[in-house]
């Protein structure tokens, strides 16, 4: 695998990250991310064939809560931080495509 991240990859990652970057930023990040990713390749020096991934340092499992309702926020409080609203809804520019993924 190449150690470098090219400009096209950076553009793709910026799109996935929903960051509308300027050309200057894309150039800057291409360089910086390349050197960071190159450094990260250091991990490949280690043989991890028989090592389990450790997502959590905690040996905890089965944490549940009972199915008991708790008070929700009053609608006004829920919407208090909304950048824009209409009636009791959050308002965003019209969604024309259906890109939902559930």
């Amino acid at each position: 695998m190449s150690n470098q991240i090219n400009r096209q990859q950076v553009e793709r990652v910026a799109h996935l990250s929903r960051l509308d970057l300027t050309d200057q930023e894309l150039d800057l990040f291409s360089g910086q991310l390349s050197s960071i990713v190159e450094y990260i390749q250091k991990l490949n020096e280690l043989d991890t064939k028989n090592v389990e991934p450790l997502a959590h340092s905690l040996p905890v499992h089965n944490v549940f809560r009972p199915d008991t309702p708790r008070a929700s926020l009053p609608t006004e409080q829920a919407l208090a931080n909304a950048p824009d609203r209409v009636d009791d809804f959050y308002k965003v520019p019209q969604i024309l495509d259906d890109n939902s993924g559930a």
Partner: protein, 487 residues
């Protein structure tokens, strides 16, 4: 009145009626007005609310009512902790107007302990950084030398404690963000075991690494604060149940004698630090030895890979944690967004600073299809190897000692142009978060510029009581923690 202000002494004076919380709170607020414009520790100060809280405590005491363990003690909190008073910005423009409708678990704990909350301290945006230079809102300087950084990301909290602009503060530590600024500012900073303190209400950076902890002027104060913060919270699934990991009496633990202390160390970790740090840490080990401790040389073969693993894991989690800042439901929305996709991409581009963008991009890359196994999965495996290093070291000794940072506080702007160089300076602190173990930073000397040096003591999971005891042992024989910067 505000000289050598410790939580321990102040809470006793207040509870006994020798000092009024309102007076001390006012005195500290006065100091903040006088000095903070030059230091920049606070993003917001809640003077009226703090005085109101102080008065309530004074009234309770006057009425002979019982008060909490932090009664009337003025405390500052890092601005990535949700508090219904004022804003919670995370040092970011994207949350520049965010008013949380709820309190973080630790804020509830402070309030329940009758603490006075002075205000919110500056940080690297979303806690991403080691110098507080990445704050999108304000610069914070080191009180010991205003041309230098206070460290980060809890730089505001560290500077506030060091400058006497609060009695103690809360910070958060994902890769060293409590310990390193504590070291740079000459105070005590404790990162508890992952799961010891609830993260509910802490704005997440790297969820599997983040932990809230106290930043104080002395070890005893750290013990008092940890006692208030620690414990199970049913709102955080990763908060450890106290049935399996009981919270000990930390203050009482300090009174216990340390016998047969075994300290593990890795010689080259100490040797590779800059000379003033190296010498101070070596001297600290000598002091322990003179107090009866034995030193055990250990190897930690995977330690060197912790930065690489960390910058994959933390940024992967961050890329996901920060996806919610999109201008739809709260926070900043770009006025120039024409459709909903631009609401995302423009709000985020305008709202986030460069370091946050860089880490989001790096994390997104590490998780993206085709790269997951090579980066993210690989890093998780290396994380396991790093944890094994600690387990093996702790099989041979009670704790592990090393520097907190390779150098003392560096100059503002010195490392901003090369992010990788900045990351590499986190070498001593990051592995601790990857392993989930506790670590404490205590003052252990000064360099020739009279900049503080920190000693890091690391222990096995849930050994905070022992760490505090070991730290107190050093503190009782030294006066580094008593020295204050000239403002």
């Amino acid at each position: 009145m505000t000289d050598h202000l410790t939580v321990f002494k102040l809470k006793q004076d207040i509870a006994a009626g020798r000092v009024k919380s309102r007076d001390i709170t006012q005195a500290i607020l006065d100091r903040i007005s006088r000095y903070d414009s030059a230091i920049g520790a606070y993003l917001s100060v809640f003077a009226d609310k703090a005085l109101e809280q102080a008065k309530a405590v004074d009234d309770k005491i006057a009425a002979g009512q019982p008060v909490g363990p932090l009664a009337g003690v003025p405390i500052a909190i890092k601005d990535n902790l949700c508090y219904t008073e004022g804003l919670t910005t995370c040092g970011s423009k994207i949350l520049g107007n965010f008013k949380p409708p709820y309190n973080a678990h630790v804020v509830e704990k402070l309030l329940a302990a009758d603490a006075v909350i002075l205000g919110k301290t500056n940080l690297d945006e979303f806690a991403m950084g080691s110098s507080t230079e990445n704050s999108g809102l304000q610069k914070t300087v080191n009180p010991w030398d205003k041309t230098r950084v206070p460290g980060g990301s809890s730089g505001g909290s560290a500077a506030a404690v060091a400058a006497g602009l609060c009695c103690a503060a809360l910070g958060s530590d994902t890769g060293g963000s409590i310990r390193q600024p504590a070291s740079f500012c000459g105070i005590v900073g404790l990162k508890p075991t992952y799961g010891r303190v609830s993260r509910y209400g802490l704005v997440a950076y790297g969820s599997s690494l983040d932990q809230i902890g106290p930043m104080t002027t002395c070890v005893k104060d750290a013990a008092i604060l940890l006692q208030v913060l620690a414990g199970h919270d049913e709102r955080d699934s990763t908060s450890v149940n106290t049935e399996t990991a009981a919270v000990p009496d930390y203050l009482n633990a300090l009174e216990q004698a340390v016998t047969g202390l075994k300290i593990a160390y890795v010689p080259q970790f100490i040797e590779q630090a800059e000379a003033p740090v190296r010498d101070a840490v070596k001297a600290a080990l000598e002091l322990y030895k003179s107090l009866g401790a034995s030193l055990v040389e250990v190897r930690m073969p995977h330690f060197d890979y912790s930065i690489a693993a960390y910058y994959v894991i933390a940024t992967a989690e961050a890329s996901s944690n920060l996806a919610r800042f999109d201008g739809c439901h709260y926070g900043y929305r770009s006025p120039s967004a024409r459709d909903y996709v631009e609401v995302y991409s423009k709000s985020r581009a305008e709202g986030f600073g460069a370091e946050v963008k860089r880490r989001i991009m790096l994390g997104t890359f590490a998780l993206s299809s085709g790269y997951y196994d090579a980066y993210y999965l690989k890093a998780l495996k290396v994380r396991n190897l790093i944890r094994k290093d600690f387990t093996e070291a702790f099989a041979k000794a009670d704790c592990l000692m090393m520097p907190v940072a390779p150098s003392t506080a560096f100059k503002i702007g010195e490392k901003t142009s090369d992010p990788l160089q900045m990351y590499l300076a986190d070498i001593y602190t990051i592995a601790v978060n990857l392993a989930g173990v506790p670590g404490i930073s205590i003052p252990c000397g000064f360099d020739s510029n009279r900049l503080p040096v920190g000693l890091q003591i690391i222990g096995p999971t849930f050994s905070e009581d022992k760490l505090l005891r070991i730290a107190a042992m050093f503190e009782s024989k030294t006066d580094y923690h008593l020295q204050k910067p000239a403002l």
